[in-house]
Amino acid sequence: MGAILAVFDYTLREHVRRRAWLSTALFGLVLIAGGLVTSVLAADQRARMMLDLGLAAIEAIGLVTAVFLTVGLVLSEIESRAVFLILTHPVPRWQYLFGRWLGTLAAVALGMAGMALLHLALLAALGWSAGGYGLAWSCSLGSVAMMSALSLLLSLALTSEAAAMAFAGFFWLLGHFTAEMSFVADRSGSPFLRGLILVFARAAPDFARLDYRDALHGGAAGGAWAAWAAVYALAYCAACLALAVQLFEQKEF
């Protein structure tokens, strides 16, 4: 536990030093520019548009930041040989990997929290007072956590940052079509094709089901839904990290 905390701490400090928080400043600009445009165009729906635009921007910026930071998280340390120095200490590899991932996720979550505070201030100025924001934000964080765990796994499997990023983008898109993929699989005549589509549909993170942003205007989600969403996101992250640990354990340094 001590080793995980130590790796978590230095990873978080590293990201803060590298100005990962600049994403929050970028978000502020996007939000203010978006706010100016929507206040002119959206008529009765100013608050709604500001809510959707802000939540979408928080998730998009959080996602891009998480993928960029995660794909190079371990590969850069392998290339710079810094990983040798760390692993000469009594740090089990899984604890190193988990601490690195957790530190990166914490840095992204801090940025997303900063964006959410800015966003809520702007929404309050527009008179928005409906609930569900916390759950929508948490689901976005869940999606970002899943993508960062998947990106870490892809970076170790493909050993190339560019390829890992490309595949992460592919899985991100796939994750919004899992229901359609299951539908296509059911209609497929070939058992091989059906099996192949189903494997992709199950392997891709099911963002379409986890997404509360797009259902926020429909009213409050049930407690059971939120609980299952949390279990799903945690289990998906754990599965990706376990495979990443397996790959990392097999690497010869």
Binding site: T38, V40, L41, A42, A43, D44, Q45, R46, R48, M49, D52, L53, L55, A56, E59, A60, W94, S143, W172, L173, G175, H176, F177, A179, E180, R202, D206, F207, A208, R209, L210, D211, R213, D214, A215, L216, H217, G218, G219, A221, G222, A224, W225, W228, A229, V231, Y232, A235, Y236, A238, A239, A242, L243, V245, Q246, E249, Q250
Partner: protein, 236 residues
């Protein structure tokens, strides 16, 4: 042991994720499939935003385009000659099929189809509101507007106005409906009521885009009111 522990953890976590994913799928709200989107020149834009996971944001963009259309048309999708609001139904349905919980779009679309312009389409407005009742239940204004449209079809304007007036206190009543009601009052020479509605729009800072129209209408209705109050107007 060292190499099998992560694999065992993976199998356990993947099993839990599959089970939780299945449960989540049964509890998640069902959004209309993208194949239900009406055929418009914006289908690529909608699909791209939805594919990136920004469906509500796609509906917001579609909403702005609907407003732009109502305000004077879309350069990319011009109306056929002589049919000024020919695409109003498709553009309204586009918004609500991207986000079935977009209450304002059902109401605005119904207002545009059922009451706005010279060519009215009450049946299309009712169909849109019925879609709202089905996909976005619990919104009292949908059924209220369906009743108002039924009275409009029967030619019972007094009852139609009474129904629309009863919805004015609801904060979800779109400004378009207030404008429609103000015009109905104006056509029935109930100038005081029409003026009150336009003044309320003028006092609302969120409706800045409608303020110049409200000022123009207030000037016109005040002149009509004066003319009606004059001896010649009273004789008429």
């Amino acid at each position: 042991m060292r190499t099998t522990a992560p694999l065992a953890a993976f199998v356990l976590a993947a099993g839990i994720a599959l089970a939780a994913g299945g449960r989540l799928a049964s509890l998640s709200p069902r959004l209309p499939p993208l194949s239900d989107l009406p055929d418009t020149p914006y289908i690529g834009q909608d699909a791209a935003l939805a594919a990136a996971g920004f469906r509500a944001a796609a509906a917001d963009v579609a909403w702005i385009q609907l407003l732009e259309y109502a305000a004077g048309g879309l350069p990319r999708w011009p109306n056929p000659p002589g049919r000024p609001y020919a695409h109003a139904e498709a553009l309204s349905r586009r918004v609500v099929r991207l986000d079935p919980y977009f209450h304002g779009a059902y109401l605005y679309g119904a207002g545009l189809l059922g009451w706005f312009g010279a060519e009215k389409h009450p049946d299309q407005a009712v169909a849109l509101l019925q879609e709202g009742l089905r996909r976005d239940p619990g919104q009292r204004l949908y059924s209220l507007y369906i009743v108002a449209l039924a009275y409009q079809k029967k030619g019972d304007v007094s009852r139609e106005i009474a129904i629309l007036e009863s919805a004015l206190d609801d904060p979800r009543t779109p400004t378009l409906m207030k404008e429609i009601l103000a015009n109905l009052f104006k056509s029935r020479r109930e100038y005081a009521k029409a003026l009150a509605l336009w003044r309320a729009i003028l006092d609302d800072p969120a409706q800045a885009s409608q303020h110049s129209r409200a000022r123009g209408q207030i000037r016109e209705i005040t002149a009509l009111e004066r003319a009606a109050a004059s001896p010649a107007g009273r004789r008429q």
